[in-house]
Symmetry: C2
DNA sequence: TTTACTGCAAAGGGTTTGCAACATG
DNA sequence: CATGTTGCAAACCCTTTGCAGTAAA
């Protein structure tokens, strides 16, 4: 499979990239991989589910740019500085709620280079 | 309606809180409100859609705690300091991609007080 | 009456599942 | 022969939509 992409793929894209594979198999296998922690399942802007390699596998932590106009969802490599800030923020916010943070998600929503005026 | 909650509500909860209102009306009206910018539609952990008052209406910017065990989704008030850090991080990350950030989302995923060991 | 909104029930679209055929060891 | 994986099609669930009935102006 081809989840070595620089952005989460929709099921549609996954199927297009693997001709001949029926939906059911794709869903089934991706679900298994997701359960095994190899793949992560996320949501786009408001439409369909998407799949990406888990951080453990891809080897890099990243966030997302989400374009509200064309629906594009791209990865943004997280910098050490940003991560430090986010991690601390997470700890602070979660502590007072007694919440144990396992991971955080930081997504930027707006207009991509091709859609901005 | 009762969107003065401290957390996003699922359609199920919305319906439960407004007995007698049929799904179709709830969906329809919430969609209209969403389009008008009064309500915001978001996604929980991986399951169903949820609704919350838009920031403009609720008057406060917040993020979410998402419990992977029980599915709970709670609001976390954003602090000025955190916001400053996030905003700057957003700008930095987005700029090099030519992305125009309209809003950011920062969610903490993990275990809530009731589910953590 | 004209316009807008309700309720119901049917349709839609993404995702899951049952089950028999098939490959693997 | 025993086990696990495929493909197909039907089932599911959440959400949307058509349409006629009702309330409001």
């Amino acid at each position: 499979m081809l989840a070595g992409s620089d952005r989460p793929l929709t099921m549609h894209e996954v199927l297009a990239s693997a001709p001949g594979v029926p939906q059911s198999s794709a869903y089934r296998n991706l679900s298994i991989l997701a359960e095994a922690g190899v793949v992560r399942r996320i949501q786009g802007a408001d439409d369909n589910g998407r799949f990406e390699l888990a951080e453990v596998v891809s080897g890099h932590h990243h966030h997302h740019l989400i374009c509200t106009s064309c629906g594009l969802m791209a990865d943004v490599r997280a910098t050490a500085k940003l991560e430090r800030a986010l991690a601390e923020a997470a700890r602070t916010a979660a502590d007072e709620a007694g919440f144990l943070v396992v991971e955080h998600r930081f997504d930027l929503v707006g207009l991509c280079a091709g859609c901005r005026p």
